[in-house]
């Protein structure tokens, strides 16, 4: 670009075009690609950290009351003065178990999956795919990442304050959340709320930026129905974040008032804790918190899954070498999901006694929303029909996404009907259901995306061999973890119990009808082994990731997968400003194997 300017540059202007220094380039960058990578790396670290919390909890579930080998000492050392009560003698206390559980959920949802799926991939890929030079508001983009980062720091810091991290579940139901720690004025829950306000601010800024970018900065000829499906998915996700998060922010502010200023937004009259009446005015509504939380909470589920579907759609189209089946149906379905996801939230609350009429309404909308979800999954399955499929690592992960998300989605139906939900509510069945959606579902799609776009970001492929080992082991262990949980849940094993259900086992309650049998309890050990195995299976991925940056096979061209969308029509890696020539779009996003074309792919910017 500097070359196109004439030599009449003043010294000052020439200076402005200099390559920015390290801090401007990597830390306070306004380039969407750098910010995307910042988000990606931070989120992957949180993903690993969230997994470690669960790995420690799985020991307590499988071997309740036994000291955790090695890790117990490390956790105790990290917690310092709090260790004596939190992890005495390396044995995880129920309080620590609760804190780890709450933070596992919070970190995985708000600090790992959403920033990875929406912010990292969205930032890196969306402007490239629509042919934009950057995001519409680059500085707001930078601030968005900084808010996210600070939110993460606050969440991490909460582990080390007196009383430890928040321990009322990732849903933070009141009054428990306000009463869990009565000794510390500023407790883990306060940190959690402040962290959430920062994260919500971050995602709000991100959402505004994404939507504005997609509306305003599409390249010439990039009409709405020529947008790649991934962009559509991000567009709808942006609206979900934009409109669903503010009510949680409002709820967070109110709970913060409850905790710090002793208001009673969510504290009912006549609240008694340990035999003592609580000194608050009362008159609040615990149900109000649940409504506000799930008003975010359910759209949030689609925030987790829609970008994943978008990634999978891109990879499937590219690796089947044929157009996506039913592009229009996919777009309309994703819009329908976006709208419907705002009116299904109370299916998380059937057991609160809202009343059967309200339950019926939400049961109906919940069944309706499964229709567009099934349309999307069906269209992706049908896209495989008659394709000449290339089974590379990204494609393997994308293919595995389909049945895994299918299992997760279908097992959700009994939870959507309020009659069967009464039985399954708060059991391991629920855990199995949503983890099938998010873990082997979304996380697989995210891995697929990393393997797929890695060559664009670095100019080198990730190793296929290590990738396949990573895929096979992850696939096996994921199913060994979450499959048995369906059985445990159906047998009535409740989630959130720090002893893995031992207190309700037949062994401890002989002759009691409905107590958990040894077979069900013993599944805990197998599940825990599989969970640790899953952790070890990520080693090939970590090695692959770092090794390939410097030593991976170089890409033969800017478009190594022979893909059609615009991100592959840029230099590799794309420079600041992205495109060497301003792109002009002449065709739809998936013109693979067009009859009569020179090659089996026709890039969007290729004129006829």
């Amino acid at each position: 670009m500097a070359a196109t300017h004439s030599t009449t540059h003043t010294a000052h202007e020439a200076h402005a075009h200099h390559e920015p220094g390290f801090w401007r380039k990597y830390i306070f960058s306004t380039d969407h690609k750098v910010i995307g990578i910042q988000y990606g790396i931070t989120a992957l670290l949180f993903l690993f950290f969230g997994f470690l919390l669960m790995a420690a909890m799985r020991w307590q579930i499988a071997y309740p009351g036994e000291p955790i080998p090695v890790a117990g000492k490390i956790i105790g050392w990290l917690l310092g003065a709090e260790a004596a009560t939190m992890i005495p003698g390396g044995i995880m206390s129920p309080d620590l178990y609760n804190a780890f559980g709450a933070m596992h959920g919070t970190i995985m949802v708000f600090l790992a999956i959403v920033p990875l799926a929406f912010a990292a991939f969205g930032n890196y890929v969306v402007p490239l795919q629509i042919g934009a030079p950057d995001m519409a508001f680059p500085r707001i983009n930078m601030v968005s990442y900084q808010c996210f980062f600070m939110g993460g720091v606050v969440m991490l810091a909460s582990f080390f304050i007196p009383g430890g991290a928040a321990r009322s579940g990732w849903t933070s139901y009141s009054p428990l959340a306000s009463m869990a720690d009565l000794t510390n004025r500023v407790d883990g829950q306060t940190f959690w709320l402040i962290g959430m306000v920062l994260l919500i601010t971050s995602s709000l800024l991100g959402a505004v930026n994404f939507i504005a970018t997609i509306i305003q900065l599409r390249a010439k000829g990039m009409s709405w129905m020529r947008l790649p499906f991934f962009v559509w998915a991000q567009f709808v996700t942006g609206f979900l974040l934009l409109l669903a998060f503010p009510p949680l922010e409002a709820a967070g502010v109110m709970q913060l008032m409850d905790n710090v200023l002793d208001t009673s937004f969510f504290l009912p009259s006549g609240l008694v804790i340990s035999g003592q009446p609580v000194d608050v005015s009362g008159g609040g509504s615990p149900l109000l918190w649940q409504h506000l939380f799930w008003f975010l909470g359910h759209p949030e589920v689609y925030v987790l899954i829609l970008p994943a579907m978008g990634i999978v759609a891109e990879i499937i189209a590219c690796n089947t070498r044929k157009p996506l089946w039913g592009y229009k149906a996919l777009v309309h379905s994703v819009l329908a999901i976006g709208f419907l996801s705002f009116i299904v939230w109370a299916h998380h609350m059937y057991l609160t006694g809202m009343g059967t009429k309200i339950s019926t309404f939400f049961q109906t909308t919940t069944m309706i929303i499964s229709i567009p979800s099934v349309i999307i999954l069906t269209a992706l399955f049908l896209s495989l029909w008659g394709g000449s499929i290339r089974f590379n690592t990204p494609m393997l992960f994308a293919l595995a996404f389909l049945p895994m998300f299918g299992i997760g989605g279908l097992t959700g139906l009994p939870l959507g009907f309020n009659a069967s939900d009464i039985l399954l509510h708060d059991t391991y069945y629920v855990i199995a259901h949503f983890h099938y959606v998010v873990a082997p579902g979304t996380i697989f799609a995210l891995f697929a995306g990393i393997y797929f776009w890695f060559p664009k970001a670095t100019g080198r492929f990730m190793s296929e061999g290590l990738g396949r080992i990573h895929f096979v082991l992850s696939f096996v262990f994921m199913n060994l973890i979450f499959g048995p949980m369906f059985l445990q849940g159906l047998a009535g094993m409740l989630r959130r119990m720090s002893d893995g259900g031992a207190a309700y086992s037949l062994a401890q309650n002989p002759g009691i009808e409905g107590a958990l049998s040894d077979a069900i309890i013993n599944l805990n050990k197998g599940v825990s082994m599989a969970a640790w195995g899953l952790g070890l299976s990520q080693i090939p991925f970590i090695i692959n990731f770092f090794w390939s940056i410097k030593h991976g096979k170089k890409v033969p061209s800017d478009n190594p997968w022979q893909a059609t969308t615009l991100e592959w029509q840029t230099p590799t890696p794309p420079p600041h400003g992205n495109f060497a020539v301003e792109p002009e779009v002449h065709r739809g996003p998936y013109d693979y194997s067009v009859p009569g074309a020179k090659s089996d792919y026709s890039p969007q910017n290729q004129s006829h």
Partner: protein
């Protein structure tokens, strides 16, 4: 590598980037305040008594007028920029900022009134009745009804009718001021200071009652009564922890005031950097004023809802 449409509108959308951005941002703001208004409705519907008439309506009306005026001046600012009259626009922008400051100032006075206004409750019916006699010269039905009106505003409404009678004296919440108008005093703080008595200046009866002919009775204004600490079970200023009404009042108005201050800061920035900006890029500056104005109208609109909901209903 310039980002397109930062100043000029894109042809097919007819908008420049910042305008799309601000409308999206306002959509999320609608959801934020919408959630709080919904919470207000839910809390009010679920409450056995909901306070009325505790806020100063004339002051609130004046503040509403101040904010509406500022909405007019910000439009005048933008219109003058469109006509190329920078100096006039600058005056209007200054007026808008002054209105914002005025609004926040008046709100501070209102808050201050609440933080120095107290409610007390007595340990039993005897001490409560004795206090009523000393303060109001009587502890009959009319007195108790007047005391009740100071907190809930409607002693003879259907709520009381349903309960057939007023609460017994020990449950009556007696309102007034402490001598010296201290802020945020609580029973705990007084006990920590080993205070034996407090000097309480009770409000005139029927302050909250809105019906005709039930004007506050000035006869007992400013009468000081000494109350023993041992006789009190409850003492609180009109703070958020007082009850859910004040909790939602302070949350809603506090969040709104934060928006007013935020908007004022942005406009102050536009005010002080305006001249250079106008000379360099008049169109961009006009756009910035338009975007700030849109935000300002939203802040104004929120107040248009807040005022009747909190002051009048």
């Amino acid at each position: 590598m310039e980002i397109p449409y930062t100043v000029t509108p894109r042809k097919d959308t007819g908008l420049y980037n910042a305008k799309v951005g601000i409308w999206l941002f306002l959509a999320s703001e609608v959801m934020l305040f919408g959630a709080l208004f919904s919470s207000y409705v839910l809390l009010r519907v679920g409450a056995p008594f909901w306070p009325e008439g505790l806020l100063n309506i004339p002051i609130g009306t004046f503040n509403t007028w101040v904010l509406i005026t500022s909405s007019v001046t910000v439009v005048m600012c933008w219109a003058n920029l469109k006509l190329g009259n920078f100096n006039k626009a600058r005056v209007y922008l200054g007026l808008t900022i002054l209105c914002a400051l005025g609004f926040v100032g008046i709100k501070t006075v209102e808050y201050n009134d609440k933080f120095t206004h107290y409610t007390i409750r007595f340990t039993n019916d005897v001490t409560a009745a004795a206090f009523l006699k000393e303060a109001y010269g009587n502890d009959d039905e009319a007195t108790r009804s007047g005391v009740f009106a100071n907190t809930y505003g409607v002693p003879d409404s259907k709520v009381v009718a349903k309960n057939k009678e007023l609460p017994p004296p020990r449950f009556l919440e007696i309102t007034g001021h402490l001598e010296g108008n201290p802020h945020f005093v609580t029973l705990k703080k007084l006990k920590a200071k080993n205070a034996e008595t407090i000097t309480f200046i009770p409000d005139a009866l029927n302050q909250g009652k809105k019906e005709k002919g039930a004007a506050p009775d000035p006869a007992h204004d400013h009468k000081k009564v000494t109350v023993k600490m041992s006789e009190l079970v409850y003492l609180s200023a009109y703070t958020p922890q007082r009850n859910t009404y004040f909790a939602i009042y302070f949350t809603l108005t506090g969040l709104h005031a934060a928006h007013v201050i935020g908007g004022a800061l942005v406009m102050a920035y536009l005010f002080f950097t305006g001249r250079r900006w106008w000379q360099k890029a008049p169109e961009q500056y006009t756009n910035r004023i338009e975007v700030a104005g849109l935000f300002w109208h939203f802040v104004d609109l929120v107040w248009i809802f807040l005022f009747p909901v909190l002051y009048l209903l």
